[in-house]
Amino acid sequence: MTILDQNYFDIALLILCSLFIGFIITPASIWLAKKLDIIDYPGRTARHIHKKPTPPGGRDCDHAFPVGNDPVESALASC
C-alpha cells in the first residue's frame, strides 16, 4: 500500500500549507534581507544579470547595470 492510498488529503493539505507559508514568509525574508543588507548589487559577479540591486530577499535602490558592447549582456540587461 502506498501513502497515496492512506492519506492523500494530508499530502494535499501539506502542499497548500507550504504554499501559504511561503507566501507569508518570503516577504518577511525580503524585509529581513534589506535590514541586514544581504543584497546582490549589479556587477558583483558577472553571472548575475539584475539591472537593479536584487537581494535574496528584496528589491532596493536604482543603480544601473553596467551594459557593455556584449550582445548577451545587452539583451539580458533589459530584464
Binding site: S18, G22, I25, A28, I38, H48, P55, P56, D70, L76
Partner: protein
C-alpha cells in the same frame, strides 16, 4: 529555507528522521551561503562548507550505496565498493549543489527547476511508498511554488547562494534517499540523474566550454545555456521556458524508463548522454561564432 523550517516545525515533521538527516546538513550549506551572500566568499571556502555538510549527511548514513548492492549490474569487492560509493556521494552532492547555484542567474529558472524536480520526487516517492520523502518533496514543492511568485521576472528576490545551494543540496540528498524498492535498481539507478538533467547539462556545458577557452571553470561568466539561447535571439522568458520544458521531458522519460528491462533502460541512458554531448557541441560552436572575443580570452 525559512519557510521550510517553519513547515517542518508546524507539521512536526522531525518525527520523520530522514527529513532531519537532510535538513541538518542543509543548514550548514545555508549558513555558508548566507555568509557568501552578505560578505562574499572564496570558492575553496565554499567547497569546505559543502564537504562539511556532506560529511554530516554521511554520518547519518545518507549516501550512495548502489555499488554495494547485490542487485546492481556492476559488482565490486566490499572495500572498493564502499569507498567508490563514498566518492560518488561527494561528487554527486557537490556537483548538484553547485549546479543549482549556477542556474540561479535567470529570473524564475532555478526555482522553476526546483518545482519540477520536487514534483517528480513527490510522485515517485508516493509510488514507492516512501512517506518521509513524499512529505519532504511536497513541502519543497509548495514552498518553491510560492517563491516562484516573487522570483518571476522582474524578480523581487532571488535564491542567492544560500537558497540555491540549500535547495540543490536537499534535492540531491533526496535523490540518494529515494529507494525504488518496487523497481529493479539496474533500471532505476540513473533516474535521479535524469531529473537533474538541466542543471547537470548547464554545469557540464560551462565547465567544458571554459576549459576549452582556457578560463577557470569556477569563475562566473555570461556563458550559461540561457545566455547562449538569448544570444541566439531567443526571448528571455522563452529561454527559461524551454529549459524548464526540457527538465519536464527528461523527468518524464526517466519515470517511464524505470518500468523497462535493465538493458533497454540503460540504452536510453546512453542515448541521453549522446544527446547531451551533441547539444554541448552545438551550443559551444554557436557561442564561439557569436562571441569570438570570448574565445581564449
Amino acid at each position: 529555507m525559512l519557510s521550510l523550517s517553519v513547515m517542518i516545525l508546524l507539521n512536526r515533521l522531525w518525527h520523520h528522521v530522514e527529513i532531519l538527516w537532510i535538513f541538518i546538513p542543509a543548514i550548514v550549506i545555508f549558513s555558508f551561503g548566507l555568509w557568501d551572500d552578505k560578505h562574499g566568499m572564496e570558492a575553496p571556502v565554499k567547497l569546505v562548507g559543502q564537504l562539511l555538510a556532506i560529511t554530516i549527511l554521511m554520518f547519518f548514513d545518507v549516501r550512495v550505496k548502489f555499488l554495494e548492492s547485490s542487485s546492481f549490474f556492476i559488482q565490486l569487492n566490499g572495500t572498493l565498493a564502499y569507498w567508490a560509493d563514498i566518492f560518488i556521494t561527494y561528487l554527486w552532492m557537490v556537483g548538484i549543489t553547485n549546479a543549482f547555484n549556477m542556474v540561479d542567474s535567470m529570473d524564475g529558472l532555478a526555482i522553476g527547476l526546483c518545482e519540477i524536480i520536487s514534483a517528480f520526487f513527490f510522485f515517485l516517492s508516493m509510488v514507492s511508498g516512501q512517506s518521509s520523502l513524499a512529505y519532504f518533496s511536497a513541502i519543497i514543492f509548495g514552498v518553491s511554488l510560492s517563491a516562484a511568485f516573487y522570483n518571476r521576472r522582474p524578480a523581487k528576490m532571488f535564491l542567492g547562494d544560500s537558497g540555491a545551494q540549500g535547495l540543490g543540496f536537499m534535492l540531491a540528498a533526496a535523490a540518494i534517499i529515494y529507494h525504488p524498492k518496487v523497481f529493479s535498481q539496474a533500471s532505476s539507478w540513473f533516474s535521479p540523474i535524469m531529473f537533474f538533467s538541466v542543471p547537470i547539462f548547464d554545469t557540464s556545458l560551462v565547465t567544458i566550454s571554459r576549459m576549452l577557452r582556457g578560463l577557470p571553470f569556477y569563475k562566473a561568466n555570461l556563458d550559461h545555456t540561457y545566455h547562449r539561447l538569448v544570444a541566439l535571439g531567443w526571448d528571455q522568458n522563452r529561454a527559461v521556458a524551454i529549459m524548464q520544458i526540457g527538465g519536464i521531458v527528461f523527468g518524464l522519460v526517466s519515470i517511464c524508463v524505470i518500468y523497462l528491462p535493465p538493458f533497454t533502460a540503460n540504452m536510453i541512458f546512453v542515448i541521453w548522454i549522446i544527446i547531451f554531448v551533441a547539444l554541448i557541441y552545438l551550443l559551444e560552436r554557436t557561442f564561439t561564432t557569436f562571441n569570438p572575443n570570448q574565445k581564449n580570452s
